[in-house]
Homo-oligomer: 338 residues x 2
């Protein structure tokens, strides 16, 4: 369900779900692109049809309706309420990453009682009152945090690509999902931005210790950005809770302002590399070992050009983890950890 | 109620309450110091007696029992449950800054129903889903954030001293309470470390806009520390939400590690000054204009020596806001804002 927002750079949850769990998808809902296919809009997703209503989707026999967009602040707005209600009335289970929980909405709960629908509010976090120790993962696993210069630059995508590449290399690896889309894909995780502020670090520490059990490496999905006016607290709390052995910095080529904050210019990426290392240092010496550059909206030549320029600027390995399947970045991680 | 912890450097809430609202206090509860006076233990608080039980305190006709200690993680432990229960049974109202709410405790609620006691859980925060704009206070008031190098270094004390000094100078000033003790003293405010992580900045922004209405200056109590493994997310979220015009850095003389984190060495204060300015810069150019040095556990000569050494190290005005009543620090703030 990506009403009005289905595009390569919008509807993040829907797009990532299609990228990594596309085999589970029977239809995308966006009446503004009705009749097109996912493949046509995204360049992947093949013949999965885009439908204009839940009733049209029902002909394809779905079992689950996934909320594929993430409105600012995570509210349940009218655009979303209609297809969610229709899905529930049709007996579909509903997965939602909204801050507003479906399970707290009296109308939706009543409708679900009648139809037998179940809800998974992926942002729901169990109450935790653990303050971070600063020691991060203590299972023996090494940890990498994929942090980013902004929201929606590809932290989760880089994390998943690195995980898949590590699996292809036969490594004993796990990944920790910390945001709504990642949790849906992973079918577990902890929505770190939903934790009470005092316990962000403690929750992150619990998560890496869970994912680190019996593993050699845990790749942790970062959240927000150290320069994001709204979400930087989440970012730093997660950094200190994970206390990673090294970091990868995700960035989108051409992003010159923090998204939705025209007043906040994006500092040069090289400065942001130093900022992350400087801020992290009092708790843990953790180098940024590579930049994961999102070039999704560039053609091949422009993408190569952007990668090469950022390599020069930062002196680090730079690579688009989708185009390169995470290979060069994982090399940099393994070299740093060895 | 400061059972087992009443001293100049412990029982922070009790000590601050005595310092700034001592005229409202009839007794301090700490059986380990039974028979002594607040003045004897703290150097202020005069003849206020230290009692060993709630029943002993009742002879002095109290109306309200204040939880004066803040156990790590804010839990309601057995040491606290006993005097709280006795207070409720005696019909006292109870004020608590614990993370665990009295109003959520079935036993305590039942007892209060019988006796008529009322609870004020000062950490309770109304649900907010506001993401920070990055613009901070927009009422026309200037803002100063009193941030710190660690927990329990004197951020709240510095804030209150600066507020009192500004009032003595006839300024049109307010202060924003962001932690449990400050909120008790101010009788309003917002417990920023209790907000859901995504909304730390938004809540801080709301608070400064509330306190800034009709004022020329708002002094904001900081929380945690940028180098605190557990609480740094709160600190940074508050910094970006307030987007202050300038900052004061609170520090305790001799603090060479983050409290309760023996592995985390305190960086030099001069480095921390730079760190705050560097981290703040992408959202707002905000200089650290002075250091508020807590010298509570030093004699006068040692205190003067510590102040003078830190002045040399940082090149900034340094002053103990309690000994100097905030005067030199307020001068530095006003010079920066002019």
């Amino acid at each position: 369900m990506a009403e009005g927002e289905f595009s390569a750079l919008g509807a993040k949850t829907a797009v990532c779900y299609l990228r990594y769990r596309g085999e589970d998808v029977v239809a995308v809902l966006d009446s503004s692109k009705h009749g097109q296919t996912a493949g046509h809009v995204l360049g992947f997703g093949g013949e999965i049809p885009i439908v204009s209503s839940v009733s049209e989707a029902l002909e394809l026999d779905p079992k689950v309706a996934v909320v594929g967009i993430a409105p600012r602040g995570g509210q349940l707005d009218t655009t979303l309420r209609k297809p969610i209600t229709e899905s529930i009335e049709a007996g579909l289970d509903v997965v939602s990453g909204l801050h507003t929980f479906l399970a707290d909405d009296v109308e939706l709960v009543e409708a679900a009682k009648k139809s037998g629908s179940r809800f998974w509010d992926v942002r729901y976090v169990p109450e935790t009152k653990l303050v971070a120790s600063g020691r991060g993962c203590e299972t023996g696993a090494k940890t990498v945090l994929v942090t980013g210069t902004d929201c929606n630059v590809g932290k989760m995508t880089a994390t998943v690509e690195l995980f898949h590449e590590a699996e292809r290399r036969g490594m004993n690896v796990s990944w920790a999902a910390t945001g709504q889309t990642g949790i849906m894909l992973r079918e577990r995780g902890l929505c770190i931005d939903r934790v009470i502020a005092d316990f962000i670090g403690g929750a992150a520490e619990e998560l890496v210790n869970f994912e680190g059990a019996g593993k050699d490496l845990v790749i942790v999905e970062g959240q927000g950005s150290l320069v994001h006016p709204g979400y930087a607290g989440v970012t730093l709390g997660l950094m200190f809770g994970v206390a990673p052995d090294c970091m990868v910095l995700a960035h989108q080529a051409g992003r010159d302002h923090v998204r939705r904050y025209d007043d906040v210019a994006m500092p040069p990426v090289a400065d942001l590399v130093r900022l992350h290392e400087t801020v992290m240092a009092p708790v843990k010496k953790s180098p940024v070992v590579a930049v994961a550059l999102n070039t999704a909206d560039l053609d091949t030549a422009s993408a190569e050009d952007a990668v090469s320029r950022l390599r020069k600027e930062t002196g680090l390995p730079v690579s688009d983890p989708v185009r390169s399947r995470g290979s060069a970045i994982l090399d940099a991680i393994m070299e740093s950890l060895s």
